[in-house]
């Protein structure tokens, strides 16, 4: 809502407050101000000119040579390109040295050899937006009224000697979507009671409204108040300047006097009105009802609207003539030929209007006011005011009486609270008299005693219904800057991270310490990427109405996003990339909400150690990444229950270098090398990645660590080397050795793996160190030898190991 400071000063004394100061106070006590504009500060040397002569220039098809009295001793010659310039007009003249909108400077110049001492201005050149300029002034200069005083400052005539405060009005403060509402708000700030002139309505007694129209409402829940007046014997004219400029500065294009008055009254009262051309209604009846399925209406914008039972329509008793509260019908709207106007002022049910406006994508100044509610106390006053204005501007007569259905009276609601409750909520020490004066400023009747506070809220503030609303009014008028600053002093539970949060933070720190940087990617991606790398066989969760294919489905894996990030970096000369992400993945389930699981995933490509003066380059491989994952499991204390199982089931992964990861019997993720074709498609070198489900580890709190005493006795070790089929897995060999190793076997370490010369094709040589320890005694040679032989035998038996 753009508020004109001059318009506001019609009801308040603003002499003691500048527009900037007023805006600041409005921001701090009530409504956010988006900005204050004072157009006159950018414009200068612009005066009213009287065109004495205007002749077409011979050499030009569109230029005119004019002689204009600009209040100087002699009239000046100005070349003007506007088609509508004529002798006798009062116009806006920018003299040499003038500054216009957008920083344009006017100089004395020559056009086609003819001297021009300034410029006759269009509204656009003065800074008005295209969308608010009246149609007849769109292609030319703006003509001022005849009584404009030649040679004086032209800016006041077009309303530019004003300041405009742009209010950003929240949905609860729809009362401020009107000049009267803003006047009450500013009045509360300035401790003034706004004053509005009365409506001077003269009714013509030769007819009564019953001769013209009767109104009925199908369901008063949809439409609680419907009022109509008729204005007859009209001549449709252009609006006077005072009205046009108010509309233009509010962002509304002047059309004709009738439409302009309805818009003006909407701005003044917040009450949307609709004017019908009475004669085109073809009936003496207005009925408000729900539309029937398959009914249609051609709206003002020429579009055919297909209606249904959720739409409220105004009918002439048979067919719809307007979409209630949203837009009028094309066939019944006011035209230059209109003689009689039927003027509607009503209250429609807000959610109904909202639904209709939304479903037809028809948002207007009018529908947005109906949606947010309006002042039910001024429905009649706004109608009377508009009728009187239309009659006076169009030299018509207002027919006696109002046709109406009025099922609801404006409510003066009393809200009860207490001084104590107010102070307990705000942390203040307000007294009875403090509160009295606050309610006085707001213009609310109140009875304030030490025991009870009763506030009677006028219907213009329909947003206030409960105690908390009253407390808010007190708080803002009292001033938030005066609130003390304290901290809650209640007893408190300890604030601590949950186990899940601790593990999540630990995992992040751990991954960073391994050289991976934290990434945060979009959870919404393409359907294809959402599915890629996921274990889930179900289709991804998709948006009902996505904005783009790029962000359509919820990810089932973190890998695609990370690969996008890696690709982005590599494409920008960053060859070595190591990123990880901790985030949610989503899976459809039987229940309403998808299942959300926390995952950790990482992707590495390029070098883990770069070539330097000291070190040789080491590029990332499967085992570099596996080491990171293994140590993470070890720190979580779950290594013993983790298994890596070779898997060829991942189409985007290297079939020989990928493992599924199991925790006990539960599949919790995978690790492996990106399929070379995939890597190639993304222009990546060898890329290794992993993704693990975090949930099993953050939901299972582990046993406390039990300290084991440091061994007092030395341990011993045995090395073993053997040849087996290359398909035999290290993990299985370990399992076998542990099973056969006897009670003193503590750990097994692989120290060599060899294939090649001297080893038969298809076989591999492995060498392990087995460490033994008896915590309670020195181990005897033969004890260890016996156990060690058991291991040899088991290996030979199970894998036909050829022990060296």
């Amino acid at each position: 809502m753009k508020v004109s400071y001059n318009w506001l000063s019609e009801s308040l004394d603003l002499s003691a407050v500048t527009p900037g100061e007023l805006a600041e106070q409005i921001t701090l006590t009530g409504i956010e101000v988006d900005g204050v504009t004072e157009p006159a500060t950018e414009l200068s040397n612009i005066v009213v000119g009287h065109v004495l002569e205007a002749e077409r220039m011979e050499e030009s098809d569109h230029l005119n040579i004019t002689t204009v009295n600009v209040g100087l001793d002699e009239a000046v010659q100005i070349v003007c390109g506007a088609p509508n310039v004529k002798a006798g007009q009062k116009v806006v003249v920018a003299l040499p040295g003038a500054r216009l909108a957008n920083g344009l400077k006017i100089k004395k110049s020559k056009l086609r050899g003819v001297v021009s001492n300034g410029m006759i201005c269009s509204l656009e050149e003065l800074g008005f937006s295209d969308s608010v300029i009246p149609k007849n002034a769109e292609d030319g200069i703006y003509v001022l009224p005849e009584n404009a005083e030649t040679g004086t400052d032209a800016l006041p005539y077009v309303g530019l000697a004003d300041a405009f405060i742009e209010l950003d009005i929240t949905p609860n403060r729809a009362d401020a979507l009107s000049m009267r509402g803003v006047a009450f708000e500013a009045g509360a700030i300035l401790s003034q009671k706004p004053e509005f002139p009365g409506v001077n309505l003269i009714e013509d007694s030769s007819n009564t409204i019953e001769d013209f129209i009767k109104v009925s409402v199908e369901n008063t829940e949809d439409n609680s108040i419907y009022k109509m007046r008729v204005i007859k014997d009209l001549v449709v004219t252009e609006s006077p300047l005072w009205l046009q400029k108010k509309l233009m500065h509010a962002g509304i294009r002047p059309i004709d006097a009738i439409v302009d008055v309805t818009n003006y009254i909407m701005l003044e009262y917040g009450q949307p009105l609709h004017a019908f051309d009475y004669d085109t209604l073809n009936s003496k009846e207005i009925q408000v009802r729900r539309a029937k399925d398959s009914e249609t209406l051609v709206t003002l914008d020429g579009q055919t609207r297909h209606l249904n039972q959720d739409n409220l329509v105004i009918t002439n008793g048979t067919i719809p003539v307007a979409l209630a509260g949203v837009m009028g019908g094309e066939n019944t709207h006011v035209t230059a030929e209109t003689k009689t106007v039927a003027l509607e002022s009503a209250v429609f049910e807000s959610s109904l209007i909202r639904k209709t406006a939304q479903s037809l994508n028809l948002r207007s100044e009018s529908s947005s006011r109906f949606e947010k509610g309006l002042n039910k106390a001024t429905v009649q006053q706004a109608l009377d005011h508009a009728a009187a204005l239309i009659a006076s501007l169009g030299q018509g007569q207002v027919v006696t009486g109002t046709a109406q259905v009025e099922s609801e009276q404006p409510v003066y609601q009393t809200v009860t609270t207490s001084v104590d409750k107010i102070n307990r909520t705000l942390g203040t020490d307000l007294t009875v008299s403090d509160l009295d004066s606050i309610f006085e400023r707001l213009g609310f009747d109140s009875e304030v005693t030490a025991e009870q506070v009763n506030v009677t809220v006028p219907p213009r503030r329909w947003d206030i219904t409960i105690e908390a609303d009253i407390i808010e009014e007190v708080a803002r008028i009292h001033g938030y800057s005066k609130l003390p600053s304290t901290l809650p002093h209640n007893e408190s539970l300890p604030g601590e991270l949950t186990y899940a949060q601790q593990i999540t933070r630990f995992t992040r720190h751990y991954m960073e310490s391994c050289g991976l940087g934290q990434a945060i990617s979009y959870a919404l991606t393409t359907t294809e990427k959402a599915k890629a790398f996921a274990h889930s066989a179900t289709a991804p969760v998709e948006l009902d109405w996505p904005m783009s294919e790029e962000h359509k489905a919820l990810r089932q894996s973190l890998i695609s996003g990370l690969l996008d990030n890696v690709q982005y970096n590599v494409a920008r000369q960053s060859k070595n990339v190591a990123l990880f992400e901790i985030g949610r993945v989503f899976e459809q389930t039987e229940s309403t909400l998808p299942k959300e699981t926390s995952h950790v995933a990482g992707v590495m490509t390029g070098a883990v150690v770069e070539n330097s003066w000291q070190e040789k380059e080491v590029t990332v491989d499967y085992f570099a990444v596996k080491g990171i994952v293994e140590e993470w499991f070890d720190t979580l204390g779950v290594s013993d229950s983790i298994r890596f199982v070779p898997s060829k089931e991942h189409p985007d992964m290297h079939p020989g270098r990928t493992a599924d990861v199991f925790w006990n019997d539960e599949l919790i993720g995978m690790i492996g090398q990106l399929h070379p074709l995939m890597a190639q498609a993304r222009d990546l070198n060898d890329t290794v990645l992993f993704e693990l489900n975090l949930d099993p580890f953050i939901t299972n709190e582990h046993d406390t660590i039990r300290f084991k005493s440091i061994p007092k006795y030395p341990g011993t070790s045995r090395d073993i080397a053997f040849v087996v089929e290359e398909s035999v897995l290290h993990q299985d060999i370990l399992k076998t050795m542990h099973a056969a190793g006897g009670k003193w076997l503590r750990s097994i370490r692989l120290f060599d793996l060899y294939q090649g010369e001297n080893i038969e094709n298809g076989k591999k040589s492995l060498a392990y160190t087995l460490s033994y320890l008896n915590p309670d005694a020195t181990l005897k040679e033969d004890e260890v030898n016996t156990d060690f032989n058991q291991v040899k035998e088991a290996l030979a038996e199970k894998y036909s190991a050829d022990i060296r």
Partner: protein, 348 residues
């Protein structure tokens, strides 16, 4: 020449030789040649048997003195030689200490996580719990339970990604508050929580809009919580995030889930309040929204609003990070360009 004289001569000779010695090894040879079993001093002393018995103690004493003197001399010389040798060795080992050290790779925390953890830690210290929730929520918890019924005009403030008419991507982390309110046992103490997480809005991505961003909301519900407590808490937060000298101001605003509702501005950390490009000349920067929890929100979750009251606030880590570090495009947070991420490696 008597034995005494012989000893003196031998000692003098040994001193000269030792003085000339240039290595520990040479010195050892000298030691053996004088003090060893077959050494010169030893062989001189063999002549003691020919000396008169009353002379023997005198000679014995002299012999011990000579032996001690030589031993001390040799050992001092040895120490000096060893020290010199070590010095030479160390000199040879000199490296260019300005050469770069070996590579250590350490990943960096995403800047948004840094901001969020800083805020989390501040509130943990004040006895708040961190409570997370689902990113996909029901319309019921996301809107209705925070006082935004169907067809409420304020729903326009948040354009929503729907999955079905009843299921959506949460537009704020408020549904966590509704869920926590209904499960919290107030007999065990007040509810003090913050809820950080990702949220989603139907917005076209550009420099200042993102369809995915982060939010941290906080809420305290107990007996006798005041708006002054809210102000004090937010003042602390503003100082923590933007510096000790910061002030805040509260402006009336509207959120369906709070009443009274306020927007909170922090005095500009760049110009200190005099007006600059960061604060658009106003001296103030909007950083969060807050208010006293609406009684409807409490009642809908089964909390007695006549007994309990409290406050809630919400802020955007993305916006805070943009302001704090002068990041001019929100998309940077989600592109994960290492050249961007690594700029926030430094702590603090």
């Amino acid at each position: 020449m008597g034995i005494e004289e012989q000893l003196t001569t031998v000692l003098a000779k040994a001193v000269i030789e030792a003085d000339k010695a240039e290595s520990v090894k040479e010195l050892e040879t000298i030691r053996v040649s004088y003090l060893g079993k077959k050494g010169e001093i030893t062989s001189v002393l063999k002549g003691v048997k020919d000396v008169a018995p009353e002379q023997r103690p005198v000679i014995g004493k002299k012999a011990n003195e000579v032996r001690d003197e030589l031993t001390t001399l040799l050992s001092h010389k040895k120490e000096r030689l060893e020290k010199e040798a070590l010095e030479r060795q160390l000199e040879k080992e000199t490296i260019d200490v300005t050469l770069p050290g070996k590579q250590v790779s350490k990943g960096q925390t995403h800047v948004l996580t840094q901001i969020m953890e800083e805020i989390e830690d501040l509130f943990l210290g004040m006895g708040y719990q961190i409570i997370e929730g689902n990113e996909v929520e029901s319309d019921h918890y996301n809107f209705e339970r925070v006082n935004l019924p169907q067809n409420h005009p304020a729903r326009d403030m948040q354009d929503t990604f729907y999955i079905t008419p009843d299921v959506l991507l949460r537009t704020h982390t408020s549904p966590i508050q509704a869920r926590t309110l209904e499960s919290h046992d107030f007999s065990k103490g007040p509810l003090k929580m913050i809820s950080p997480g990702k949220v989603y809005r139907r917005d076209t991505d550009d420099a200042t809009h993102s369809h995915q961003f982060h939010q941290i909301e906080g809420m305290v519900i107990a007996e006798n919580i005041t708006m002054a407590d809210l102000k004090g808490t937010l003042e602390l937060l503003a100082k923590k995030m933007f510096g000790e000298d910061r002030e805040i101001r509260l402006r009336p605003s509207y959120f369906p889930f709070t009443e009274p509702s306020v927007e909170v501005d922090v005095s500009c950390f760049k110009c200190g309040g005099t007006g600059c490009n960061v604060c658009k000349g106003t001296g103030w920067i909007e950083i969060l929204g807050a208010g006293m929890t609406h009684p409807n929100v409490l009642e809908m979750s089964g909390v007695d609003s006549t007994k309990y009251s409290g406050f809630a606030f919400g802020l955007g880590p993305d916006r805070i990070a943009m302001l704090k570090y002068g990041v001019d495009d929100i998309r940077n947070f989600y592109l994960n360009d290492q050249r961007f991420l690594k700029q926030f490696k430094r702590k603090g």
